[in-house]
């Protein structure tokens, strides 16, 4: 059988958003670091999934928080898509987009991610210790590392900008190769030949 036409799906999604029926909207975006699943609620982006994360799990996670009325639409998230596209073309920064930290329940982890989101712009980097300090507890660098490892909104909340003080690139939820690619894109690491 043929899938539903995009025009029909987009019409349903826009009507749903217009009528206030959508708990969240998602879009799939092709990028140089693979396909991203971006999920946005009324307050902002709540989840960004890398392509190896099963979509059903990611969407179910959001449904558990915001409700099950989740719809897919490229058109409704056009601004978000444009911002990501521009970022991967070397302009702008998705971290200017509004975010929703509803999936981050632990208070200190949330403080870490909020500090990272508000303080560390593209082109800057910070150490885990430095980030822990910004979140109010300089000694909690391990907790800061955990917060980054479990960041539900990578790229927008820029965990790739957090580096170990001992040197090297450190770990990343989406894998070190992606971290390196993002830092190269932002000019924080020399581009490899």
């Amino acid at each position: 059988m043929t899938p539903l036409p995009d025009s029909l799906l987009e019409a349903v999604a826009s009507a749903a958003v217009r009528e206030g029926l959508a708990d969240a909207v998602f879009t799939r975006l092709r990028t140089p670091i693979g396909r991203l699943l971006i999920v946005q609620g009324e307050r902002g982006i709540i989840r960004v999934g890398f392509e190896e994360e099963p979509e059903d799990h990611v969407l179910a996670e959001v449904a558990g928080r915001l409700g099950p009325r989740i719809v897919g639409s490229d058109r409704e998230l056009a601004l978000t898509r444009d911002t990501f596209d521009a970022y991967f073309a070397g302009e702008g920064d998705p971290h200017d987009l509004p975010v929703d930290f509803a999936l981050v329940v632990a208070p200190f982890r949330r403080a870490v991610l909020e500090a990272l989101h508000s303080d560390v712009a593209a082109g800057q980097v910070v150490t885990y210790g430095g980030l822990a300090e910004r979140a109010g507890n300089a000694r909690a660098y391990r907790a800061a590392a955990t917060a980054c490892a479990r960041n539900p909104i990578p790229i927008v909340v820029p965990c790739h900008r957090v580096l170990p003080s001992t040197g090297g690139i450190g770990r990343y939820g989406g894998g070190p190769e992606r971290k390196r690619a993002l830092l190269e894109l932002e000019g924080s690491l020399p581009t490899r030949p």
Partner: protein, 155 residues
Amino acid sequence: MTTVALPPFWSLVEAHGDELLAHARRLAGDQHAEDVVQDALLRALRAYPRLRHADHLRAWLYRVTTTAAIDAHRARRRELPTDDVPTVATHDTYDEGAFEALIAPLPAGARAALWLRYVDDLEYEGIADRLGISAAAARQRVSTAVRTLRERLAA
């Protein structure tokens, strides 16, 4: 917030959208099928958080689509003689009553086939078991029942 763990709505749409469109084509014809599905999905979305369980969601979507097709047909008929804006009947689409009322005027055999398929969500083998007929005959009976429903609409 819902008390039952319902899957993200769009997962259902992506899994079953194509067959709902085929179902709408059988009921409403090519010309109206997409409008029917669009209306059905919005009705389903409105009712979704009120569902009391997450079982047989596919069959539920079939019933909502059937009801949407019938309402669209009624609205078009009302539309014909006047230029009034059609007022679409607003069934409570998660209530079994709407579907039951639709199939009530059909002959018992057709009614049973539609019920087993779109309320009990049985495969043709299951319907065959319940009716004591072969799976091929069950498929035939459901197909005939859908046609009967459509013909009643056209009448």
